[in-house]
Amino acid sequence: MLECKNLNIYKEDIILIENKSFIIQKSEIYTLTGMSGAGKSTLLKYICGIEQKSFTYKGEILVNQQSVNHLPTNQRGVRMIFQNDLLFSHMNVIENLLFAMPLKEKNNKEEALTLLSQLKLDHLSYKNINTLSGGEYSRICLVRMIINKPNVLLVDEPFNNLDKKTKNITKDFFYKNISEMNCATLIVSHNLEDIYSNDKIIEL
Amino acid sequence: MNILIKLFINVFFIYFIFHQNLYSKKINFHAWGGSVVINNFISQASQNLKKNNIDLRHTKITDIAETVKILLSDKKNNNLKNGKIDLIWVNGENFQRLKKNQLLFGPVDQIKNYTYINRRDASLHSDFGEPVEGLEVPWGRAQFVLIYDSQMIDKPPQTISQLKHFITNNPGRFTYPQIPNFHGTTFLKQLLYEMVEDKAILQQPFSSCLSPCKPITDLMLFLQEIHPFLWNKGKRFPKSISETIPMLSNREIWLTINFNPNAAATNVKNGNLRDVTRTTSFMNGAIGNTHYLAIPFNSSKKSASLQVINYLISPQSQADKANIEIWGDPTVLDLNKMSAEQQNMFLGKQSIHVLPSNKFPYLLEPHHSWTEAIENEWLKTFN
């Protein structure tokens, strides 16, 4: 569960976000919408623990009813897919996925290959990530986060680089998996088509 | 403004061309450049030679072996007349190489001031056992000495057994340059002289010594006994005797070797050594050798080079060279062949730091073949 209380974000005296509070329970999917520059990505980064120097932040973040404001990013139990997510260039696709597997679990290549095959990307398993197209890259990033089995997931514009057909397949894959994981999910999107009908919406 | 600039340029060119023509005889002198006192001496000599319309240029080299390579290459390429090197400071194995490959001009001993040199003095006319045969002119003398800190050592060693006694009782306070450094090898030859019963054997080629050569074997045994008591337990050696000077001044070592009987005095004067530094040598005799000046076979200024050599062995120049305030390198001239006035020039200030003269017999360098034999055996034993 993710709870945010009285979130305030300022950029040089300009108020970006004021007194925003919300709770996302397990298995719930929320979509965060708003105009460009409203502070959606900034908010996600703050929840995640990535604070930027030019911003001032206030507000409490609780994960599973525990305050995580004082914890570093990797210990908050919050995972995030960035707008420009990065795969590691010294690893091939499968290695990137294995690296993302939960720390307490052993590396399971079969699981990674299964997930790739669900998106028909298994032929890229041993490829160098520099050879991937933009769409393949984005989808691998999504698969990487799925394999990480997060409890709380923040996603920033996940389907931007995809054509309509691929987007639908990917969306189905994505929503299916996060539902199975009972993950509390917050997705940023300004494209209303990407929102599923049963998504709840938070507007900035 | 333009006129001024043009005038300046013209004056500059006129001066430049005139200046170039002022010294039409540029002599390129190849000599080791590591010593400030020697460099200063040569620089002063160069100033004095300008009166004779000679521009002596000191090319400061790391090792005369570089010069030998240039001359070998010149010969190979048939450069017989336009060599760039006009004068070299040389002795020992490098002289042998030059002589063997016919890379030297001679005879060079017909110059005027050679009359002050005793032609019967074998030590001046045999270079590491190799007859000079007029191919080089003696310039200065060297003799094996021991320099020590008199506050640390009451009674300095003057025989090989005393040396061994000192070394074993004062571990870490003596060393010698690593073989195959020229001075390091000469120190071993000095020890060899101390060990052999018949010193004449060392004047014969090494091949005359039956295999295994007992003197060399004994020398290696001796070294094996003393090495554990040397500086760094014989596991590390200085690369040259110059490196031992600051070690001695800092009392890291208390005794070192040198080949200039006046080295201690010069270094004390320059602040490189403590005032308590003294000089001694082996009572039974100390190896002496000579260093020389020679002219390459293909120098284009041989007559000017001869003039330079003539100047450098003149009584005035030799007296300056022997002066411990300037260089302190012993003269090759026979004082008996000089006038009283000339002799007086050599009566420099007495110094307690120099080797007392005439107390330590002069031993000739062994035959040059012993050098390589000793080096090879040392490298085999300790490398």
Binding site: L103 | A65, E252, N270
Partner: protein, 541 residues
């Protein structure tokens, strides 16, 4: 102007490249021919056997020094990158420190009568230095650590721009949001990616390790000597056995150097493979800043102390153990250097500057006049690799042999050529980095607007890359200015730089004069780097 435009339009760069390639191939081919044609296999095998201990000690010392340099450089780079402070600029100045001064300084620091021993004597009260017991093990240790620390500033300089290029901060954030720790980010991701981009600087370090003379002869072990020393000794030697060894030593050096490169590459691959799969690192939230900070200050402190000691030595008279400060001072050493070497000092600055600028212009013209820059980069990479793989001392021996055979070129020309060729890899590599950092959008936009390549270079690229050009000039200048093997091997004393004279003086009895020369030696490159660091302070990390 029209000629220049024509130059740009033609494939002029390929012709230049062919000539350069031809010359380097001739140099390398010559040494191979000389060595192989004169090689007595029987002799080689005997020598190889005798030299085994020397080969192994050289190999291991140099490999360990390189690995240590890389690790320390990475830790410091990581620290400075995250701190984003001017301190990195300060480290750049240390690149200008002459090798010989550094080596002598190390001796003066750690000898039993050295500076640290004198500080100790203040408390312990000993008037006489302790007995020195330095053997080959301690010598190897001193050699490895000193050489590693000496290379750190150069690696940090390059490493900082590499970290920026690979977007290390973004990688770190990416790793953190996957639940891994800072340590995992650093070691499993940033370090392997950084290492991959540092191949060419590491190659430069490795070949320097195998060809340097100062470190190996002054600090390295003696029983046996490292191969680097043996090769120069055999070059000088009149001893028949030692001189005979030279051909064998050349082959051994080249093979050892190549083997070292292969070994390091293999180690890199193994490390990469190992780190990728490590989970335990994910748990520890250490960022190694403290370690980086400690090493940073150690490196700075070491260089500063050496500089301080050298400056004291240059003006001291009668500075004997156990006094901390000299009892009297004089400028005799400087006076001697100025009276005797001023002209050489300034001409060395001039020669190094001209060669550095020419090299930079040469590479820039090659890149800018080529229609296909990708191929030109490949060609330049091949040339740089050819120059780097061959240790410098071997290359110079080859040039010296060529000089004998092609006697119609003057000694000076060969001297300048041997300096020029040595700095081509440094120039190319740093320039390539600079071109890669340039945002291609600017160039595409200028192309779309119809701006010619010529104008594009002067109006867009040059202003943006000017600081980089200055840095490249600074590094090339200091590399060139501190060369001395050329003056020994190629010109055999006939021509040399100021550094040659300083090197010769250190073999003499006057440490004061040699130190004064050393201080003068340090000045030009230090000034250049100070200017560069001031500009960088406001521009980069």
């Amino acid at each position: 102007m029209n000629g220049l435009r024509h130059l740009i339009k033609s494939n002029f760069s390929y012709w230049i490249f062919l000539v350069l390639f031809g010359v380097i191939a001739l140099v390398i081919g010559n040494i191979c021919y000389q060595v192989i044609s004169k090689l007595d296999t029987h002799f080689f095998l005997i020598h190889f056997n005798d030299l085994l201990s020397s080969i192994s000690i050289t190999f291991f010392n140099n490999i360990i020094a390189t690995i240590l340099a890389v690790i320390i450089a990475f830790l410091i780079t990581n620290y400075l990158y995250n701190k984003k402070s001017f301190k990195s600029s300060f480290l750049i100045i240390l690149i200008s420190f002459p090798h010989i001064s550094y080596c002598i300084g190390i001796i003066y620091l750690f000898a039993t009568s050295g500076f640290f021993a004198r500080l100790f004597a203040l408390f312990y009260g000993n008037d006489i230095p302790f007995i020195s017991e330095r053997g080959d093990t301690s010598s190897s240790l001193i050699y490895v650590i000193s050489l590693a620390l000496r290379e750190v500033p150069f690696l940090v300089l390059i490493g900082l721009s590499v970290l920026k290029k690979i977007n290390a901060l973004q990688i770190q954030k990416q790793v953190l949001v996957l639940g891994h720790s800072n340590l995992s980010a650093l070691l499993c991701c940033i370090f392997p990616i950084w290492l991959k981009s540092m191949t060419l600087p590491i190659l430069i370090i490795v070949t320097f390790c195998f060809s340097n003379y100062e470190f190996s002869s002054i600090l390295g072990p003696q029983f046996p000597h490292m191969i680097n020393v043996k090769i120069i000794d055999s070059w000088y030697s009149t001893n028949f056995n030692l001189a005979q060894q030279m051909n064998s030593l050349i082959i051994i050096t080249i093979l050892s150097s190549i083997l070292a490169l292969i070994t390091l590459y293999t180690l890199m691959q193994i490390l990469n493979g190992y780190l990728k799969n490590q989970k335990f690192l994910g748990f520890g939230n250490y960022n190694l800043f403290l370690l980086g900070k400690i090493f940073y200050f150690i490196v700075i402190a070491l260089f500063m102390i050496i500089l301080f000691i050298t400056s004291l030595l240059s003006i001291s008279e009668s500075w004997f153990f156990p006094t901390i400060m000299p009892s009297s001072f004089s400028l005799r050493g400087f006076d001697y250097m100025v009276s005797n070497y001023l002209w050489l000092f300034f001409s060395s600055i001039f020669i190094s500057s001209v060669i550095s600028i020419l090299c930079l212009l040469f590479v820039v013209i090659l890149i800018e006049t080529s229609k296909d820059t990708k191929n030109i980069y490949k060609f330049l990479f091949v040339i740089s690799l050819m120059i780097l793989v061959m240790p410098q001392n071997i290359m110079l021996i080859s040039i010296a042999n060529l000089m004998e055979q092609l006697a119609f070129f003057s000694v000076s020309l060969w001297f300048y050529f041997s300096l020029f060729i040595y700095i081509v890899p440094y120039t190319y590599f740093m320039l390539k980095q600079s071109y890669d950092d340039l945002n291609p959008q600017y160039i595409h936009s200028s192309d779309i607007l119809g701006i010619t390549r010529f104008k594009s270079f002067f109006l867009i690229k040059l202003p943006m890359m000017f600081n980089d050009f200055l840095l490249i000039f600074g590094v090339s200048f200091s590399v060139c200015f501190y060369q001395f093997l050329q003056g020994i091997i190629v010109t055999k004393g006939e021509r040399g730089l100021f550094n040659n004279e300083v090197f010769i003086l250190f073999s003499g009895e006057s440490i004061q004069t040699a130190s004064a020369g050393s201080m003068m030696n340090f000045l030009p490159a230090a000034l250049i780097f100070m200017i560069i660091s001031l500009r960088y302070r406001y521009v980069r990390v």
